[in-house]
Amino acid sequence: MSMHFSSRRTVFIQFAAMFAVAALSGWLASLLPASGAALAKYEDLAGQVAVPGAARLLSVRQVAAVSVFALIICATLMFEERRLGVAFVGIAALLGLRVMTLDEFVQHTELHIILLLVGMMTLVGVLKDMGLFTWIIQSIINAKKMTGFRFVVILMLLSGVMPGIVDEVTSIVFVLALVFQVCDTLKLRPAPFVLMSVMATNIGSTGTMLGNPVGILIGTKAEYHWNPGAPGDVGVPLSFGDFIMHATPIMFLSLVAVSALLFLYFRKDIRLLDERLAERRASHIGLGPMVAIPYRRGLAILIGALLFIASHHPLEHALGLQANTMLVAAPLAIAGLLMIFRSHRARHYVENSIEWWSLLFFMMLFAVSFALEHCGVTDVIADMISPEGGAAPSKWLLTPLIVLVTAVGSAFVDNIVFVSTFIPIVKRIVENSPEMSPLWWALLFGACFGGNITAIGSTANLVAISMLGKKYSVKVAFLEWLKIGLLVGLVSCGVATAVVLCYYKTPVVAP
């Protein structure tokens, strides 16, 4: 009874803290000067309102939008299970306070991103059913001449590459099945290997556009200037190919640097793994059953799907479609076809393979981010950093700053929260100074690599911790994670910042 009471008291205190933070954020927002662009937008929408009145009204809207955003951040931090509920209430409040209209809300839930994720999650469900992941795990487990070093290299590579093909959550579930099988059989402490795989997963999730919802969001929302200042240069969204050309190399460089660090940090556990594997090899006993898994169809579907998605940019060009149309259409078409051919499992895929909880939260979050942008809050922040018509900000200052702020923020709050808020800010900066386009990459790497810093920094971390707890009743202490997480965060963010700085181009000066 006392425990129940104490738990209710804690929840009450958390709620009180959440509303206090929201109120404080709202008060701070009320001090922000209303942005000229937002005022103009408001006048367009409600032309009959005079500017002074509009300015006052806008301030109320800013307060509401910032407060709801702060509420959602607090709910993500304190009540993982209540965050969707808080987001629903927040959206209802924003609609009720006329911060946005119903049409604007529907338009800005970014349904195309949600549908892309739905398509990919369905594809993953089918591939799991067809034994592709089982085959990969079995092949590694039963590989001949496996040593501790080789296993960890394979583990890091697999964890780094898989999220770019499937999503980071599917990847970590899949990789941890491998880790648990090996640790169970060899009687090893699983936590070090779980940490290694989850950190590689967070890094690997930046490798392609599909690795992380953050990548999809940045890719579709970015306005990248490839030839800043050149005649006819306009900001365009990033494609799958752009990620392969620019994000994948940084991901691999960071993965190598972080792997070296983790090898050093967990050298005792790797040595023990090596000894146990050697004993096992000596007695000619494998680490699991060896069966002939019919994997070929699954592999063919995966390769076909990846090729289809990867070719979205030339396809759009050839068909005269809007940028990234095929990026959404391809996974939907693939998922649809698979559901038609495997109709007996179609309902299972939709009901069990798709993370509706996360997707609904994303939709609400995207709408709140729009509200911030719509009210001019993000414009005001962007104008503080890079004023319209002013001198271009220094890449040497802004790149590390964006990486640092998003990394630290993402270490404590879901990275998509930070990225969706920062997108309008980066968009505005790039709008004012097109040569700052590489900031989009800085945003991507800061948000994803920052997730490694704490145990709550990314969805993959939370899934890994939950799996570890359920299977072994093991908890990774916050400080234990932070100790290695900070090092990994520093190294990976350092590598990413250094390479992103090389991506800047001097703007073409008109003759």
Partner: protein
């Protein structure tokens, strides 16, 4: 003279000289139960002797209650009884009670227990106390040799056998029916599981300390790990292919290679018996291992536990 059978915080069930029959001869079980119940009839106001006899005989018809070879413990739970009542009867030297045949030897000593049905621990406490008293070598012979009711009461007095205020894990346990050594192979484990029909077998080291539990589930999981279950169905392996890897190596695979490190349900021998229930509930296990330090001394299975609490 009244002898307390229990010490501790809970009210002690008592029996006195007037509840003892020494060196009696009886034609059958029913007549002995009737005579013993008659001794108790004046002890409490709410006892209906005829109904009590019927309740005891009905309980005995389900399964005769023997505490140890030669010691019968007919009993029943009676609704509305104020307190636990105990009567003791011994057979004439060299004789035994007709109709009381139990495991090992026919009964020479009978302890009738009538306990309130509202207090499930009461009967168990009495049974545990008497079992502890009779646990010493030759104790049953000595009890049966006593010709005087007062001496019988003295025999069961605390001091000779201490009585806890609660039922201990030790009072519920039975010897482990099957034990594996840590040096045994998976083949030995499968053989024992198949032979005994017991699905979880404790594994001990050379000192007798428990080091784990090998279960049929471990064997199944070694053959069909989680990642195989990701597949929609395993009908592609209609020839039990996932089992063939372990089958080929079962003789050279140690038990430790397939058992997981999950903690098993255990309780210390002197801990209150409720710890047994707690351990089984927390671990979602059907067996609790009773330990003395780390040494395995007994097991309590869930069906046996439920029988003792609800039916005995």
């Amino acid at each position: 003279m009244t002898a307390p059978l229990a010490t501790g915080a809970t009210p002690a069930p008592v029996f006195s000289e007037k509840h003892v029959l020494c060196h009696v001869e009886c034609a059958d079980e029913r007549s002995l139960v009737e005579r013993m119940t008659k001794l108790l009839s004046g002890s409490v106001s709410m006892l209906d002797p005829a109904m009590a006899v019927e309740a005891v005989m009905e309980r005995e018809a389900q399964a005769p209650s023997f505490l140890a070879p030669g010691v019968a413990m007919p009993h029943a739970r009676i609704a509305g009884l104020e307190r636990t009542l105990v009567a003791v009867a011994t057979a004439a030297p060299g004789r035994h009670f007709d109709g009381f045949s139990g495991p090992g030897a026919p009964a020479r000593l009978a302890v009738l227990v009538l306990a309130p049905s509202e207090a499930p621990a009461e009967y168990l406490k009495v049974a545990a106390a008497i079992a502890r008293r009779l646990d010493e070598p030759g104790a049953i012979d000595r009890a049966c040799a006593l010709a005087d009711a007062g001496q019988v009461v003295d025999f069961f007095q605390p001091g000779g056998g201490s009585l806890h205020g609660h039922v201990r894990a030790a009072d519920l346990m039975s010897p482990p029916p099957a034990v594996l050594k840590e040096t045994d192979s998976v083949k030995d484990a499968i053989d024992m599981i198949v032979r005994t029909g017991i699905s979880s077998i404790p594994v001990v080291d050379k000192e007798g300390d428990i080091v784990g539990v090998a279960s049929a589930d471990d064997v199944l999981r070694a053959c069909i790990p989680d990642y195989l279950l990701w597949m929609e169905d395993l009908s592609a392996f209609s020839n039990f292919e996932p089992f063939s890897t372990l089958m080929a190596k079962e003789g050279s695979t140690w038990i430790a290679d397939i058992t997981d490190d999950d903690e098993f349900a255990s309780a210390q021998v002197d801990e209150p018996a409720i710890r047994v229930a707690e351990a089984m509930a927390r671990r979602k296990s059907g067996t609790c291992y009773v330990l003395e330090g780390s040494r395995l001394v007994g097991v309590v299975t869930l069906p046996a536990f439920l029988k003792m609490v609800f039916r005995d």
